[in-house]
């Protein structure tokens, strides 16, 4: 590779997608060709949740990807760090979603390195909105990607959650959000259990319960897989940064949840 040097008026500035375009690399999320589709079976990721608590935000996602009625993957990751103080989780066409996350991560780090300062949380949330909008063509073909973006705002000293629609519309949620095929069930569960200023444990427990109830109602959402030891991805984002909650801790909480549900008896 030779050094990418641009003349005046051609310089892509701190934008990585612009750099990709100017350096001749094809845009990774190009609008799709018009034509019959919607029935294309590609892996889809399902339920993701985010809850604000006293120290920041907890994000979680189940591990299942489905392809039509089949399970495409049992242990897919849907919660990713976007940078040190924010995370992005994804529901929708898995291929595009994972690519979008990778581009988004690169975009944020690229900006920070070129400019010498990181974008504001608001700026990052808007950037993700533009990327979702760029995928609108594919979304109309049934290959939508719907992320949740959450982070710790170092300027306002609080956790913040942003949700998106397929057109790139960006809306800030005060307390929690869940999306994907089981998002509605997860949302209801979280709504009933939500309290202001929960602690870390309470927030993680509620997120896990939301995913559990989503898996109970939605066939595309994976429940805890005790046999294989596959549990949802959970992460916290606080002033200290993005941190994955260890598998052992999540497994332990799930076992406690299952024990409690078994003792209480679930309605059939």
């Amino acid at each position: 590779m030779s050094l990418p040097v641009f003349g005046a008026g051609q310089d892509p500035g701190p934008s990585f997608s612009e750099l990709l375009r100017r350096s001749g690399a094809a845009s990774p999320v190009a609008p799709g060709p018009p034509g019959p589709s919607a029935a294309v079976h590609v892996p889809h990721g399902t339920t993701i949740v985010a809850i604000r608590y006293a120290d920041g935000v907890v994000m979680a996602g189940d591990r299942r990807a489905t392809e039509g009625y089949s399970i495409a993957h049992r242990a897919i990751e849907k919660v990713y760090p976007a940078d040190r103080h924010s995370g992005v989780s994804i529901a929708g066409a898995a291929g595009f979603a994972v690519e979008m996350v990778k581009l988004f991560q690169t975009e944020l780090e690229h900006y920070e390195k070129v400019e010498g300062v990181a974008l504001s949380l608001e700026g990052k949330a808007n950037k993700l909105g533009q990327m979702v909008r760029a995928n609108l063509g594919m979304a109309m073909e049934g290959l939508a990607v719907v992320p949740i973006y959450a982070g710790y705002d170092l300027r306002r000293r609080t956790g913040r959650i942003f949700k998106y629609d397929i057109t790139g519309g960006r809306y800030e949620e005060d307390d929690f959000h869940a999306t994907g095929s089981g998002g509605r069930d997860a949302r209801t569960t979280i709504k009933l259990g939500y309290r202001e200023d929960m602690d870390r444990e309470g927030a993680i427990e509620l997120a896990i319960e939301g995913l559990y109830q989503a898996a109970d109602e939605d066939s595309a959402t994976g429940g805890p897989d005790v046999v294989r030891g596959i549990y949802p991805t959970v992460a916290t984002i606080t002033e200290g940064g993005f941190e994955r909650v260890g598998d052992a801790e999540v497994a332990e909480r799930f076992q406690a949840l299952i024990a409690r549900k078994s003792a209480e008896g679930q309605p059939r």
Partner: protein
């Protein structure tokens, strides 16, 4: 054979360009890089908090430049671009200092022979390896010459004197504190002190997670210099 009017021999032309670049690079304040136990330490005298001489290129790679600020800063940006493009298109593991140093060398060499004036810069590409003893320093001159160093290197004016001072203080696999004192002591010389607020110091720290680059702020620097 009659010489055309205004003829300058290639030897003379190259020598004039080299003199011009060397003289202007030497005017700026020097910068040192030292390999220590935990990675690579980069230190420069720089009163500015915002116009950096040392910066992050990629996960394990840092850039440093001396000479004309706008020229080495645009080289820095180009380095970030090439590294991010490569890491995005292939894999993060495929981004390495050697190929980046070669790209810089090609670019500087091209400008040195073909443009009106050479770039008045001297740059460094440093990479921290996964284990002790695998760190790399590529020192690149205004004409594209690449020098691969193992333990330490000095950029800018007065390099020989500063090199000698570091050599005297250097030991294999030294800790961060002694490395900082060796580097800053070499920059200052025996007759003066440089205060932490006049220094720009950063490390490529093997233990800093994916992004090894970390700046040492004045309080941390004060502690390291005083112990």
């Amino acid at each position: 054979m009659t010489m055309p009017f205004g003829y300058v021999s290639p030897e003379q032309a190259m020598k004039d360009r080299a003199d011009f670049a060397r003289k202007n690079v030497a005017k700026g304040r020097p910068l040192v890089a030292v390999v220590y136990e935990g990675g690579v330490l980069l230190a420069a005298e720089n009163p500015s908090r915002t116009l950096h001489k040392i910066s992050e290129i990629y996960d394990r790679i840092a850039f440093a430049g001396v000479g004309k600020y706008n020229e080495f800063d645009s080289l820095r940006t180009a380095g970030v671009r090439i590294a991010d493009l490569k890491g995005y298109q292939y894999s993060r593991e495929d981004v390495d200092a050697r190929s980046l140093a070669n790209a810089y060398a090609q670019h500087l060499g091209q400008i040195f022979t073909h443009e009106m004036k050479p770039l008045e810069v001297e740059i460094l590409v440093a990479e921290v390896g996964l284990e002790v003893g695998t760190d790399q320093l590529f020192h690149i001159l205004y004409d594209g010459t690449v020098v691969d160093e193992q333990r330490f290197t000095v950029l800018g004016g007065d390099a020989d004197t500063i090199s000698d001072r570091i050599k005297a203080a250097y030991t294999e696999a030294m800790a961060l504190g002694p490395a900082v004192r060796a580097a800053v002591g070499a920059l200052a010389g025996p007759d003066r002190q440089i205060s932490p607020s006049e220094l720009e110091v950063a490390v490529l720290d093997r233990g800093n997670g994916r992004r090894a680059f970390r700046r040492l702020d004045p309080p941390e620097l004060t502690t390291l210099l005083s112990t």
